[in-house]
């Protein structure tokens, strides 16, 4: 268990998030993928804070703030998705086709 392992874990998680975002067509699935990406960044912060940084409190605090901000963001995202569901009766991202060139 060293810094490199943690960074690789975070990078893989981020990659899974990006892959999921492109593959998933369900809006909730896409939100979960985004959540994975954000948490990968959190792992980075915490592992840097634990292993290398000379200001280690800051990194740990940052991840707590990120969790709070993400909660706000997801609350808004779910609210918007609920209004969209009421109109479209579907959560399929491919249905989002009314706006185009």
């Amino acid at each position: 268990m060293n810094l490199m392992n943690c960074l690789i874990l975070a990078f893989i998680l981020f990659g899974i998030g990006v892959w999921g975002l492109m593959r998933r067509r369900h809006l909730i699935g896409m939100l979960i993928s985004i959540e994975l990406m954000l948490n990968a960044a959190n792992i980075n912060f915490i592992s840097f804070a634990y292993f290398s940084a000379h200001d280690s409190t800051a990194g740990a605090l940052f991840s707590i703030f990120v969790i709070a901000v993400t909660a706000c963001e997801m609350a808004i995202a779910l609210a918007i998705i609920v209004t969209m569901y009421r109109r479209h009766k579907s959560l399929d991202a491919d249905q989002l086709r009314d706006l185009h060139d």
Binding site: A40, S52, A58, G59, E73, I81, A93, D98, L99
Partner: protein, 480 residues
């Protein structure tokens, strides 16, 4: 005592933070139809703007509060741009709460709407005041999250909720990229504070730093609609209610630019020369793609989206220059851009009241209502950068800043692209001035507010360009 004196300069910031709570709170205790929240919102925004103007410029390094809140010249002027945008956005939105427009139903809850705009403005203020990555990140989020809600404000409008869904998915991905970049930057420097990061960057680079820069530019690329990441912008600008589109294209763009300025001339200043080719590439592709996209549009808000993508490219050119010159040019251009853009959106708002917001609805405007047609022409010429108007001087300073460090290729490319841009801005003017209407035109009605704002903004666009002493205030602050 000195700390007490220092507190004066954050009074506008504190008021701006309290402002949405006050407006929304008053709305709770008022009658449904009461005009009180609207009046207080007007008074509050204007009072904050006036207070900002009392903060003296030319204070060197800027003043620090609680070691994490910096008020410097760039910050004060950015605050003024953001407040102008908030005030004009509020005035533009008022009519949309009284009647439907552009085939969309009427909106509701004006107090909360204004509160959301104020929160977004406060986010922008936080970005320009930040001295460490955490405040910086929080500011960017406070600026973005209200925008998602504003885009979906019209719950009865299907396009609005679709636009908001696209916006929040893209915006969250951008946030994730930024955070990843921040985490690598923190890992590289071992600290969150800008000055310590700057020292670490100056001491030597490593692959970790370049990875961080890459992720940060990807993240901010989404928010600033830079080349590979701009695809959400036309959809969101078209689907959102018109006043929200206006606020998005000014406030959120100004915040994103401020983010880049703080980053490039703050923690990343020692490596600015190394990332310059990267910035030039992003700027060039962005303005080219924006201009190409705008050529074939027929709907006004989509057209403005591509136009604002191109403008983001022009502003990026200034980032190549030395710090003070780039900051001055960017601030000046943001003032000009805000005024010209809002002028265009006020005209679109009047047209959209009775007709669809398309190029075809502009036909015959010059015969029916020459005043509005002149205002539209002034704003388009200013956005295109025609000499006597403010837009020309704004673009001149942007390009001058880029050229002063010897990036002639990108500046030449940008100037050539400006010719392309002139073509589509002229097309819009052509439909207002030359094209004959197809049949009967519905009469346009202006409220007193719309008339006075359009006249003021038109005069402002002309005067800022012709009377340079107005802008000297901005330049004086930087000893330039």
């Amino acid at each position: 005592m000195s700390s007490l004196l220092n507190m004066n300069i954050i009074i506008p910031d504190v008021l701006l933070l309290l402002f949405p709570f006050i407006v929304i709170g008053i709305r709770l205790f008022c009658d449904f139809r009461s005009k009180l929240p609207w009046r207080i919102a007007n008074f509050g925004f204007i009072a904050i703007f006036v207070l900002l103007n009392f903060i003296p410029l030319a204070s060197g390094e800027g003043r620090f509060l609680i070691s994490n809140w910096k008020v410097d010249d760039f910050g004060v002027l950015m605050r003024e741009v953001l407040m102008i945008s908030a005030i004009l956005g509020m005035w533009l939105s008022k009519d949309y709460f009284e009647h439907g427009a552009d085939g969309k139903p009427q909106m509701h809850q004006i107090a909360e709407f204004i509160g959301a705009i104020a929160f977004a403005t406060f986010g922008g203020v936080t970005v320009v005041s930040a001295c460490d990555l955490l405040t910086f990140f929080l500011g960017l989020e406070i600026a973005t999250i209200p925008m998602y809600a504003l885009t979906a404000w019209n719950k009865k409008d299907q396009l609005g909720s679709e636009a908001a869904t696209k916006y929040i998915l893209m915006g969250s991905v951008a946030t994730a990229f930024e955070l990843f970049g921040f985490s690598y930057l923190y890992g590289f420097a071992g600290s969150l504070h800008f000055s310590e990061i700057q020292q670490a960057v100056a001491a030597g680079t490593s692959p970790l730093l370049w990875l961080a820069v890459l992720f940060l530019f990807c993240g901010i690329g989404f928010k600033l609609t830079l080349f590979p990441f701009y695809t959400w912008a036309p959809d969101v600008y078209e689907g959102a209610p018109t006043p929200v589109t206006a606020v998005l294209s000014v406030t959120s763009k100004a915040t994103a630019i401020a983010f880049l300025v703080v980053l490039v001339f703050g923690p990343l200043a020692p490596v600015q020369e190394q990332i310059a080719p990267f910035i030039a590439l992003l700027a060039g592709t962005t303005l080219f793609v924006g201009n190409l996209g705008a050529l074939k549009q027929s709907r006004l808000r989509r057209f403005m989206a591509y136009s604002s993508i191109a403008q983001a490219g022009y502003i990026m050119v200034a980032l190549l220059g030395p710090a003070t010159m780039a900051k001055t040019a960017i601030i000046y251009y943001l003032f000009v851009y805000a005024v010209s853009n809002y002028l265009a959106f006020f005209v679109f708002g009047i047209i959209g009241h009775h007709r669809e917001e398309t190029f075809a609805s502009l036909r015959g405007l010059s015969k029916q209502n020459p005043g509005i047609a002149i205002a539209l022409a002034i704003s388009m010429f200013s956005l295109a950068g025609i000499p006597p108007l403010a837009g020309f001087f704004g673009k001149f300073h942007l390009f001058f800043s880029g050229a002063s460090t010897g990036h002639y290729a990108i500046v030449a490319f940008a100037v050539l692209n400006n010719v392309l841009a002139l073509f589509y801005y002229l097309q819009l003017i052509k439909s207002a001035w030359v094209d004959e209407p197809d049949g009967h035109l519905t009469p346009l009605r202006l409220t007193k507010r719309q008339r006075s704002v359009i006249i003021t903004l038109s005069i402002a666009v002309v005067i800022i360009g012709v009377l340079p002493f107005l802008s000297n205030n901005i330049f004086a602050g930087f000893n330039y």
